[in-house]
Amino acid sequence: MPVLVLPILLSLACAPLAYFAGRWRPGAAAWVGAACAVAALAALCWELTLGPARLVLPWAPTWGLSLEFTRDGLSGLYAAMALSVGALVVLYSRAYMPHHLAEEGRPARDEVRFQVLMLSFMAAMVLLVTVDDLLLLFIALDLTTIVSYLLIGFDRDDPESRAAALLSLVLTGATSVVFFAGAMALGLQYGTFSLPLVFERAATQPASTGALVCLAVGALGKSAQVPFHFWLPRAMAAPTPVSSYLHSAAMVAAGVFLLQRLYPLFEPAVAVRDGLLAIGFLSMTVGSLMALVADPFKRVLAYSTIAQYGYALVLVALGSEGAPLYVAAHAPCKAALFLTVGAITQVTGKKKLSEVSGLRHSLPVLAGASAVGAAGLAALPLTVGFFKDEVFFHALVEKGPLFMAAGLVGAGLTLAYTLRLWWGLFGGPRQDVPAAPRLLVAPVVVLAASVLVGGLLPGLLVAPSRAAAAASMVHGGASSLELAYHLDARAENLLALGAWALGAALFATRLTWTPMLTRVLEGTSKVGPAHGYRVLLHQLDRLSTWLHEKEVRDLRDRVASVLVPTGLLGMTVLWVTPLRDRFIAGSVGWADVTLVMALAFASAAALATLRARNHLVLVMLISCVGFSLAMVFAFAAAPDVALTSVLVETTFTLLFAGLLALLPDRRLERAQKEAQQPRGRDRISAGIAGASAFLLSWSALSHLQADRVGTQTVKLAEAAHSPNVVAAVLTDFRGLDTVGEMSVVLAALLGVTSLLKLKGKG
């Protein structure tokens, strides 16, 4: 049983270990972290051979909450992806970050911070894919969001980087809150947050559409799908290792992963899946078209990511068994390309396609390795990418010709922009640049090798993808996914050939259509969601300024604007409830005379405060109210309350008098004079508030329960060894409340001490 947590513990240990290694020597952080990640990967692989398992650790059993982890094909595939790409990217950053930090003018020690953040992100990702509980899913999702904010905004001196980080935080954070709403709705519907139980109950009672839409929104925001896609290109302001990790194998994969994990819920909801299908195709189109014209390399890749996750979304929406395979095959290709452009930026200092060309002569190894990655992304045979498109076409063939056509165009566009990117970097007239450091190239080569191995030996992929599919897409059944090359005229092969032809044609004629497409896309970006976000932000800013001005213009109006509506609301509530006719005046006997007299005294003193001419009189009248009330408490046979009240009131009166001594006389007089000009509407506000308080308390006093807790406490107090029932209630029965209110008192004390510091100025 405890074996299951070994990979999780190892991945959680990466970041702290790297931190301590970095304390010793900054360069060691990356190596230690990567070694730890590889160890976690090894533990994971070994465990996956043991078959699926679950681990349940009780957390708050009374609330039915427990920490639940799972080990199945899906979590295994995604965790392996996160760990392997993570280890490579960390090593790559060892070579990349010192240069980057030097360019930013930051100390080299910051590299440790960067590596720790990357490894924390990896841990959060592993956690996300291994938990088996809706609430934990949400928590892990938010962890990834927070760490990604820190990573994207790593260049904190760069305003663009900060804005991009904020944008991604706002979008993915807001959508994950929507996800939380969906998770809560499901939890309430099924009475549990444990996923296996939820799935079991969903089989007989389908989940509500609203909850599913909420879950889907959370996933779409994470996966940067239309209409939430615009955070991803902005997030390219981050250092390249961040982009290559977060935006190939980790963060954006999380959204699609969520959909796959929760697929059993979506399976019966055909309408929701149709919506996802439409969004998937839309993201494909938007992403591919933008990738065709974008100039900075990283933006091309970002738009390509949007498009590629659109494919994955389509596969999920169609319920295809190939969805996990698609994501897994895409990750190494995309990561390889990201790392390539990062290396090129470091070597040349350029960031745009229009500024570089012909690098194949200076960087031959990088060119070869990235060609493999690009081929994988474009789904050419002999790479693992071929199979991602094969499962894609396979799913579309079953849907009919229209879908096949859409898939063909999408795949053709993919080939076109991939060619454009690779050719733009490495083809064309020769440019001579210094050679790239080996550590920058090695991870790309490893990734390219994995892409090739997957393409040459597809048999290796069958078992993990089947396991992943069995864990999500075909729940409970066995997957029949087949991966092999077929040299015949089946529809999938024909579609692939058509896509390559289309892509090649588009690439060959690129000079003719690029300017037009650029203009069209620029035009649409003015009305797109990104524009909407900007406008929204601006308007919110203005609204907050306006509210602030309104609020502080006159403090009295602010107070009145709270009290009057509350009072009116209270009276309305009383009016519409059936309790409105049942006011009980209560009887007044001879025994009550003292009480009434004390109350009358308090009221008279309170009324007199309004007319007080001078502050000392005012304070005396206030304390008079307090003492009269203490008298009331005494007559009401509440000696504890009365005693405390008298003592507190005395102290308070003396303090107040002390305050008056502190305030300058002149100001007091002037303030006094000005206070004598009351406004009519203040009287009305006070009247409404008072009337509402009167009616509400009368109603409350008229509906006291006959059988109250009080009588019970009297009986229990004897058992609690406390004849004074009030003390028993305070210390024992409601002890937790007392602890809470003591912290309030202590907070007030701290407030007083910090406001009047011993050695403050003057």
Binding site: D640, L647, G658, L716, H721, N724, A727, D732, G735, V752
Partner: protein
């Protein structure tokens, strides 16, 4: 002529504090408890401030360390409330438990509630004394820089 008020007030301090302590100790059985005890003790100190001034009053250790005392009080309260959790009881379990034989005589009961109430007393006392002290300090400062 020397006023008889300062000596009298100094004489009143200790009886007041003893009464406050008795409020605390017999709170479980009769009228009293931590709140009034703390307020009364605070009031006794307040009287000293009013009559003899800040410098004289701060000679008492209790007064100088009033704010840390409140912190100790919070520790006592939280400790009584949550230490039983470590032993597997629910929060705010007091000892002796219901059903176990109690100890004590008259209004005085030996009970962990007593520690709890003691914490309340220290907190309230600390609050009162600190506020007074800060006000007195401000008065003194203002006197210095006054016209």
């Amino acid at each position: 002529m020397r006023s008889f008020v300062p000596p009298l007030s100094r004489m009143l301090l200790w009886p007041s504090l003893i009464i406050a302590l008795s409020f605390w100790l017999k709170g479980g059985g009769e009228v009293g408890g931590g709140f009034p005890a703390g307020a009364l003790a605070g009031l006794a100190v307040l009287l000293q401030y009013v009559v003899t001034g800040r410098e004289q009053t701060r000679r008492y250790v209790v007064v100088r360390y009033a704010a840390p005392l409140a912190g100790v009080g919070l520790l006592l309260v939280v400790g009584t409330a949550f230490l039983p959790v470590l032993a597997g009881y629910t929060p705010v379990s007091l000892f002796p438990r219901p059903g176990q034989p109690g100890m004590g005589a008259g209004a005085f009961h030996l009970h962990t509630a007593l520690i709890f109430e003691g914490g309340l007393m220290l907190i309230v006392f600390g609050l009162v004394v600190t506020v007074i002290d800060r006000f007195a300090l401000s008065t003194a400062n203002q006197g210095d820089e006054g016209p």
